[in-house]
């Protein structure tokens, strides 16, 4: 292959038949889908059709992009994707890991694993040599120990991805872990890996990645790295990272509190970034990142735990827990067991509310750390009735218990750290995210608060008003194109841009230096829109055409209840107005009123081949 920046090679592994081979994929696909999420969506659309997510037919994709393995700003990410056992639709997530560096240096853009091993195995990849080795001695171990053991065998200079007991036991929101604190695949990618009896992937790569213009790449990266260090926001970012958000979400009634029943927490101060600073023992980061944000603290049991905002919001205030060292214990258990901290927090909170309302008899209530910890472990090992139930996630729990009014999920994926009683744009972002209620795509809440309408002569006389202006739908799409599209395809961390204001102009330039392909912003937006349309088509096909706009609704709680306290007490979203905003979103995307891409939209995006297949399950406009 003569491409630069891409290898054009996918490592294929069939665990049922113990077979390994290399698939070359066309240059046109590389250019159209770029990598990461784009490549994963293309593979799943073509190959994971109507499969049982936990069956051998499902494909588990580890996808890198042109940025990976090269010195690009915070460009050490990888996308892990599969059909989701939690949602039944498209699932993915990204993590920063040395595995992405080694994968690319080993000469591949992605790995696709299918089938199911008879006994636990792990993959060892060293450039062209790939072995499927026994993992019987590792099965049952946590992700921290698994990685340590594997590094003892293969040396420190490898990338390791692994699952913990949660993935082995098919907890529906089990994740894939790396480097003791990096996680990917909220919608159960770890369970898919467990269903294949694949405990880990170890990669060592030594090749040189073909780059179009090495000198230009070096120059641009150096400039970008310097811009990051010189940004006015950098020093504080270095202190608190995403943990700084506790303070402002609490101030703005957006901090998930007691299963999202409220937006501010009376003990917010004791779980915020300042409290974390006092407990910090070290800072970890992803490869090629010069603004590392993994803040490691010592937890209440004297062990290291790597915190970020999401962990603390969902396992802290959302459970009514106000001691950061205890919250850190839950966080460390989730990482070691290989469970998504967000979905775990929301699932435990759901149980807590059900117990407080007398719907469940036994179980933890808000603020009960000891019982919350017990439940977290019961979930990981699927112990007892309650552990088993909560391991299925909130949607399944609500279906069983009839607790839909406080089931905090979209499409089956639990809501992450922003409570949206008064934030319609953020609610729309959750509603229309490609994987369910996750913030990584359109984190629009900051913009929504910052641009809240000011009326009247003197600002101080004006109340914050919930508005549903069409610009909100447009802003959600703009952010989805960048965050859910561009960054997920490159694959690079979005935080240099989001948090310290690195100019977006670097990204197409870096991409061109690496691949030699010139992308205009229109090209990049088209690529992002293509991926969104393809992922939406995937959901519709996997749901057999049973699809309507209600799938893009946020949790009912935001419509039917109000905030419990604070200046916006009693306020909530208006269902009719949300629905109108959703129509605007569909109009801008070229999707029909059900939320399905129109034929002409698919054609325009170069997805003609999707049309006949979608027409098998539904009529297209």
């Amino acid at each position: 292959m003569t491409m630069k920046g891409w290898w054009g090679r996918i490592l294929r592994v069939d665990l049922t038949n113990n077979k390994v081979w290399v698939q070359e994929y066309p240059e046109e696909v590389a250019k159209k889908f770029i990598g990461g999420r784009g490549l994963a969506a293309w593979i799943l659309w073509n190959e994971a059709k109507n499969v049982d997510p936990l069956g051998p037919e499902n494909k588990l994709v580890f996808a890198s992009g042109p940025f990976n393995g090269l010195p690009t700003p915070s460009g050490g990410k990888m996308v892990v994707a599969a059909k989701s056992p939690l949602t039944g639709g498209y699932g993915d997530g990204n993590l920063g890991t040395m595995a992405t560096v080694h994968l690319r240096k080993a000469g591949y853009d992605a790995i696709v694993v299918e089938g199911k091993a008879k006994k636990p195995v792990y993959l060892y990849i060293e450039d062209d040599n790939v072995s499927i080795l026994s993992a019987e001695g590792l099965w049952g171990k946590g992700t921290f120990e698994t990685e340590r053991e594997l590094k003892k065998i293969h040396g420190k200079n490898v990338g390791v991805l692994s699952i913990g007991p949660a993935g082995e036991n098919l907890v529906k929101y089990a994740v894939v872990m790396s480097q003791e604190g990096r996680a990917a695949g909220r919608p159960g990618m770890g369970a898919v890996m467990g269903s294949k009896k694949l405990k880990a992937v170890v990669i060592k790569g030594t090749k040189e990645i073909p780059v179009a213009d090495k000198e230009k790449l070096r120059e641009l990266s150096q400039e970008a790295y310097n811009a990051i260090l010189n940004s006015p926001g950098y020093p504080f970012w270095h202190r608190q990272g995403t943990m700084a958000a506790v303070e402002w979400t609490n101030e703005n009634s957006a901090l998930p509190t007691r299963n999202f029943s409220d937006g501010s927490f009376e003990f917010a101060r004791s779980i915020d970034g300042y409290t974390m600073e006092g407990m910090k023992v070290k800072q970890r980061g992803c490869p090629y990142c010069n603004m590392p944000c993994g803040n490691v603290v010592l937890d209440a049991e004297g062990q290291e735990s790597e915190l970020d905002y999401e962990n603390v919001a969902l396992l802290g205030s959302n459970l009514g827990l106000g001691k950061l060292n205890e919250v850190s214990v839950l966080n460390r258990i989730a990482d070691d067991m290989g469970m998504d901290t967000i979905s775990l927090g929301v699932s435990i909170a759901h149980v807590m509310e059900a117990v407080e309302k007398g719907i469940l008899k036994d179980g933890p209530t808000f603020g009960d750390f000891k019982k919350a910890k017990e439940l977290a472990l019961d979930i990981a090992y699927r112990r007892g009735e309650l552990g088993n139930l909560a391991a299925e996630g909130v949607k399944a729990m609500a279906e069983k218990l009839g607790t839909h009014d406080f089931a905090m999920h979209v499409k089956g994926l639990e809501v992450s750290g922003y409570n949206c009683f008064i934030y319609p744009a953020m609610a729309l972002a959750y509603g229309t995210s490609s994987i369910g209620a996750h913030h990584k795509e359109a984190w629009v809440i900051a913009w929504e608060i910052g641009t809240a309408p000011i009326e009247g002569e003197k600002a101080k006389k004006v109340e914050y008003k919930i508005t549903y202006t069409p610009e909100k739908a447009a802003k959600v799409i703009e952010l989805q194109r960048l965050r859910g599209g561009l960054f997920e395809m490159l694959t690079a961390c979005r935080l240099p841009w989001v948090e310290v204001g690195l100019s977006l102009d670097y990204y197409p330039k870096l991409l061109e230096a690496i691949t030699g392909v010139k992308y205009t912003w229109d090209d990049l937006y088209a690529a992002a829109d293509r991926v969104y349309a393809l992922i939406r088509a995937y959901w519709v096909r996997e749901y057999n055409g049973n699809w309507d706009r209600k799938m893009d609704y946020p949790p009912r709680r935001w419509f039917i209840e109000g905030l419990k306290s604070g200046p916006y007490k009693g306020q909530h979203l208006d269902e009719k107005k949300y629905d109108e905003l959703l129509s605007e979103y569909y109009r801008l995307r070229g999707w029909d009123e059900r939320g399905i891409p129109k034929k002409e939209t698919l054609q325009k995006l170069g997805l003609e081949e999707v049309i006949p297949e979608l027409e098998k399950v539904t009529k297209l406009e």
């Binding site: 700084a244 004006v462 204001g501």
Partner: protein, 76 residues
């Protein structure tokens, strides 16, 4: 006295989380903060609240007001 609560990176740059400043008459928020927070203008997005209500940088404050300001950057 205008009481100013600074959050996030603004607290870091100003070297304090709370400040009290005496002003004569009225003053624009941006002007006031520019004097207190180094590199204030380099932050594009910020949330400003006067007496608990959202406001813009060109709003005016007077001596009895409470001002809260944060750069909405961190979190996601």
């Amino acid at each position: 006295m205008v009481r100013i609560k600074l959050m996030g990176a603004f607290a870091h740059l100003a070297g304090a989380r709370e400040l009290e400043v005496k002003i004569d008459g009225k003053k624009k928020v941006d002007e006031l903060l520019r004097e207190l927070i180094p590199r204030y203008d380099e932050f594009k997005d910020k949330i400003i609240m006067i007496n608990g209500k959202p406001a813009r940088g060109d709003a005016e404050v007077e001596d009895t007001d409470e001002l809260k300001v944060m750069p909405v950057l961190s979190g996601g």
